[in-house]
């Protein structure tokens, strides 16, 4: 069928890029994760729960999370001006929002968790990869969670609905639908859509992305198990 046809980089339409996750890579952070998917290289550090040093942020009945997504100047082909910009502030916000439903911070009132997502190399789909890596780092930090959040994108390229867009496909394609979900219950915590899709195409893209999420989730689990199981 159609999944026998191949894309630009030789993948099938429903095939993920090769993905590698490693948990607990940083010594000084409470939790950390390193993720490679296709040409992306992402490092996430989690600090906390710790005493909230920003008074106005703290909540009396629960903990809060803060997220910072940052792209290294050398992460893209043309040098990126360092520092936060409009895009990275948006991704910081949506990442925090995507992770928040999974966290159970009732036992840590008035505390704060900081998540730092550093994109060392970017090649399309960094926001999903960032969410995937951030939740592994949160688990590594020992933060109580309902489920491991996982992100994955689907999109439309040359009139075909495909999974896990690369940078080239993202630029040339017609639409991009990144989602984040909690695989156990199937709850979606992030849903964005960029481009033009019909209703059917959109439904198909979401289904495909959810399927991709489940596959990535297996790799997340495996990464955590590998790090902490008895040798």
């Amino acid at each position: 069928m159609m999944s026998d046809l191949v894309r630009d980089d030789g993948r099938k339409f429903d095939e993920l890029r090769p993905i590698k996750i490693e948990a607990g890579v940083l010594e000084r952070a409470d939790g950390s994760a390193y993720l490679e998917v296709g040409g992306n290289k992402i490092l996430v550090a989690v600090y906390g729960p710790r005493e909230s040093y920003i008074r106005r942020l703290l909540e009396p009945n629960t903990g809060v999370i803060r997220c910072r997504y940052n792209m290294a100047p050398f992460s893209v082909d043309d040098r990126k001006r360092p520092g936060p910009d409009r895009r990275s502030s948006e991704i910081s916000k949506i990442t925090a929002d995507a992770l928040r439903p999974a966290l159970m911070l009732e036992n840590y009132p008035r505390s704060m968790i900081d998540i730092y997502i550093e994109v060392i190399e970017a090649e399309g789909g960094t926001r999903c990869a960032g969410i995937t890596a951030a939740s592994v780092a949160l688990v590594d930090a020992g933060v109580p969670m309902k489920d491991i959040v996982v992100g994955c994108a689907a999109g439309k390229v040359y009139d075909e609905i495909v999974l896990d867009l690369s940078e080239k496909e993202d630029k040339e394609g017609q639409a991009d639908v990144p989602i984040a979900m909690m695989p156990r219950t199937g709850e979606i915590t992030l849903l964005q859509s960029d481009g033009n899709l019909t209703e059917e195409e959109f439904a198909k893209a979401v289904d495909l992305a959810m399927e991709g999420c489940r596959k990535v989730n297996e790799i997340q689990k495996e990464a955590l198990m590998r790090k902490y199981s008895i040798e």
Binding site: D30, G31, G48, P49, R50, E51, P60, A102, M104, N107, Y108, P109, R110, S111, V139, D140, A141, G142, P144, M145, K146, D147, I148, M182, P183, R184, T185, K221, L224, M225, Y228, S229, I230
Partner: protein
Amino acid sequence: MIHVENKDLVIPGQILADDEYYSGRGTFKENGKVCSSLLGRVSLRNKKIRVIPLKSKYVPKKGDVVIGKIKDVRFSMWDVDINSPYSGILPAFEVFGREKKELNRVFDVGDVLFLRVVEVDEIKKAKLGLKGRGMGKFKGGIIVDIAPTKVPRLIGKKGSMINMIKDKTKCKIVVGQNGLVWVKGNEDMEQLTREIIHLIEAEAHTSGLTNKIKNKLYLTIDGELPPEEIEEVEEEFVLEKPKLQNFKEELEEEERQEEERQEEEKKEKKEKPDIGEVIEEFKRKNKSKDGSLSYGDNSNNSFILNNK
């Protein structure tokens, strides 16, 4: 039905068992399934499932003994860092009683203290005290940092592990329930003890650890293995509320006395009548005397207002 075994490594969101099991710490129930909320190991006992986390932050609890570092000296208290998301305070009266002294002459910023959590308020701020044996400032030594969940393993059953290390390295060791360990002794021995403690932390889940550590200690210090002993029954690996070292009984005794004292105080208070009751009594008496309502009665006041 249960999907995991005792001591299995689980991750958040993993389904552990069906409805007939009880969900303990580190787990939650959703749609009739018991799920893990932490990365840790399963502890199964009488249909109750708990997950013991591999990493965690210390949350202060009343009665715990902790090691803290003075962060700031204020007018009538010290701010103490107790290796937790929540800071501790050591009020001056816990140290001096009624006396007034200069605070920074007694403890200054950077001093490391052995303390007891006297009270934890609703925002989880820990009030600390120094009542108890061995409590106070540490002089010299090093601090080793481990995960608070690994503290019981470091102490071992009835202090077997920690006492063995103490005997062999001739170091003074004090373990705080917040995951800080103070070690003082010969400089080389301090370093060895640090290594040993980190080894215990890393291998807390393996069985036969006490013997393994024993062999390592003998090998490093004496250069030979310990004399063969009659094989002891290996203790079961249970991560529970930390059992404290030799001073534990004394501390508990003190705590019990403290509680008794508090209860007595409460009783005394009860004997003194409540101010509200006094007023009620007063009203009742006045009423019975002349039938008129006394001052302070709300219904009377409102009556006057209505008439106006």
